[in-house]
Amino acid sequence: MGEKKIKLSDLNKQLADMNVKSLEGIKIEGDIELEIETGAGGVGPLFAYYFGEEVAKVAVQLVNMAKAFGYPIDSLLQPVAVAEAIAPPEIKEAAPAFKIPDTLAKAKFEVGTDKTWKHQIQEVVLGATKADGGSRGNTVTIGGEKALPFFYDAPMPHRPVVTMDVFDMPIGMAKAVKMHYEDVMNDPAEWAKKCVNEFGADLVTIHLISTDPLVKDTSPQDAAKVVEDVLQAVDVPICIGGSGNPEKDPLVLGKGSEAAQGERALIASANLNMDWEAIGRSCVDNGNVCLSWTQLEINAQKELNRKLMKVAGVPRGDIVMDPTTAALAYGLDFAYSNMERIRLGGLKGDEELTFPMSSGTTNAWGVREAWMVRSPNKHDSDWGDRMLRGPVWEIITGFSLAMAGVDIFMMMHPFAVAYLQEITQSLMGLVKAETPDTANWITMEA
């Protein structure tokens, strides 16, 4: 920098103007010196505050520059340990005389509703009956909320629903799940029937995972045949899932969508990393509903929803969002708050977010606490029976996200499905039951 002096704000501006490319070949020599002229009164607090703000902006630019040079700057920026909170010291005040009144104070508790929730979440109909050009025995409507789930501000118009997973080939699964599907693992149609007839699935999802080039590389035509089989086997609305392969899914889901023409099937899913436009258009062309899937990022979710509507031409009533389910003990905090923010955004009128949400709740089974026989950590307390532990992992993962605004759950374990339905419907006031007198809980025998 030599002898030249520059103003702090200029420095900031200059740094901001530099982009990474223009930094190549720049040398910075010597220490950077800053001179501050202060008035007679020294540095005033307001000046110090704004000066600090300006310096911080410069620091951000310098950090970015250091990063551009490949310097591992983050190692310098680890947060310092947060000061241990301490209990406040007792403050001695002259104690007023303690006097017990004769009667309780009169009181009326009042509280309002959230006035910023002015918008309704879009209602989406899944499935189509004969009258509407499909072949389903019933339809399922999700969305339509005017408040956060189970809040008193406004009743939920539709209960959360469950679509149970069916795979087009046998897959590895936790023992607690596998025992329920061993007899149908080789037959997606029978698998779908079992979910509906025995486990009370509202919908089924046929996951076309065998199409993955790294799995069996079955053709989109084969996949379409499986979709037809499932449509024949059950008359509930269906979801059609790909293998997750970004190159092949647009083809597979396109054929799957054609096979389910007019059925208002939920096509799972379009993602920014793949040809979302092709998937969106195939939903429009075949009268199906598009699942808009992003990875824990609210702005990406807005972007994809916008593109599906504006570019692919998907109508508002044909979009459901999957903002990604990170399971209990494995990032649930991100998934929960991402979904709650999305739902609050929708209620407040962000038109790119006013759609119902879906959760891949089955992800819960990927968490070691759900499936491992015992803890790998020898000092942990006993983890108990994994056959009991696994289902509750799926219940709590799904239910937490129900509280954040999820409308449709992709699930696997029949107990988990039953409990999720029971707790969500209870909180909607739909489950009539004699409530025991809990006032005497202290003396309860248990």
Binding site: P45, P72, A83, Y152, D380, D385, W393, I396, L427
Partner: protein, 476 residues
Amino acid sequence: MKESSPLNLYKFLPKTNCGECGEKTCMAFAAGLIARERMIEECTPLFDPKKQKKYAKKLTQIKEVLAPEVALIYVGTGDRQLKVGGEDVMYRHQMTYINKPPFAYDVTDAMDEADLVERVKLIHGWRKFYIGNWEEVEMVAVRSVTGDPDKFAKCVKKVMENTDKPLILCSFDPKVLKAGLELAAEKRPLIYAANKDNWKEVAQLAYDYKVPVTLSSPFDLDGLKSLALTFREMGLKDLVLDPGTAPNGEKLQESLHNFIKLRRAAVEEGQRDFNYPVMSIPLSAWFTTDDPVRGAYWESALAATFVIRGAGIMIRHSMEPHSVMPDMHLRFNIYTDPRSPVQVKPGLYKVGKPDETSPVYLTTNFALTYYTVESDLGSNEIDSYLLAVDTEGIGVQASVAGGQITPSKIKDSFAEAGVDFEKTSHRSFILPGMCARFSGELEELYGYKVKVLVGPEDSGRIPGWMKTQWPPKWEE
């Protein structure tokens, strides 16, 4: 506190930049207060009796501004002191939830001594490792089932002999509560509960023994507020509210509504006269069933409901792992501070006492992943090196998909950490199973001078994997 600008707190501080709090300036201290990293008590001049005249007014004012929207109550003493309430936001993404609700598991004075001691030890000793910390149970709730003060006292005594965790003393009979307080008051237990029938006697106890007290008014928020205002008027402000936790039916919906209403009144409407932390009692699940599995599952569902919607403290029953574990994790997740990234510093870490023959593992710098692998290695006494690759705090599977971890990034990370495989006896490292598809490209990058082993998909299986796969066999 609703304030978000340090400038507005600065005006109540001494503005002397004395540095006694450890910050260079009062403005920096004000910023620390906004971030909830500093407490006003650390500004010692404000509390100096000699400067009372000068600062008394400021202190009163800033305390009012700083007061949490949900009142903060202290239960227990010393190292075992617990903070109940003290929350500032309605939804966690607005800042963070602060004090996770303590779980108090129940024992009763009807239990025979051996069962009682066994259960207290189970509650006291329960622990689980998670993200670098041990999760534990915080409290024991002692229920008076017999209604006999002597039996209650005996039970409290036995509990205190076996745990130093804070207690909740549970009875509606003031004589029973008094018998427990005689033994436990010094440890500042929470008492449960004053209601519309016993409130005078219980208020007297709370005053005499200087303990926080729960006010119980099931499904009647007017009645609950009436109790709270009355106690407040008496100068008893360490209060916890029990609006009732119904285990089923439409009353369950009403219970949740009441929790939401109380939280909203405190946080969004600033009803400072009725902003006490709220107690939930998921134990009530056991009124609906004798089936141990159903009871535990339903208790977990109720606990999740009220952990998410603002309970400040909870009385629990099921110590079954399939109930305690998910609830502990849910509470942890909901109370994780969304402002600070859950990352560890990228680089090479030692587990145990590794030498040149020890295996070299790698994972991402997502704190959860890192600590899981570290604990799986450490608790199985596997001396090893563990490289945390900078994936911006994203886990293995997601960073493979998202490109935050790649073969060249792994090679660069080893180089940055100064790892020279020529100096190891095995010239190899172990990839997470989720990165299996990188192995070929990595060996190519290293010119086939380093063997790239593919480890298990879950690090819990490393001990078993080591038995068959370690050390690697070079074919020459």
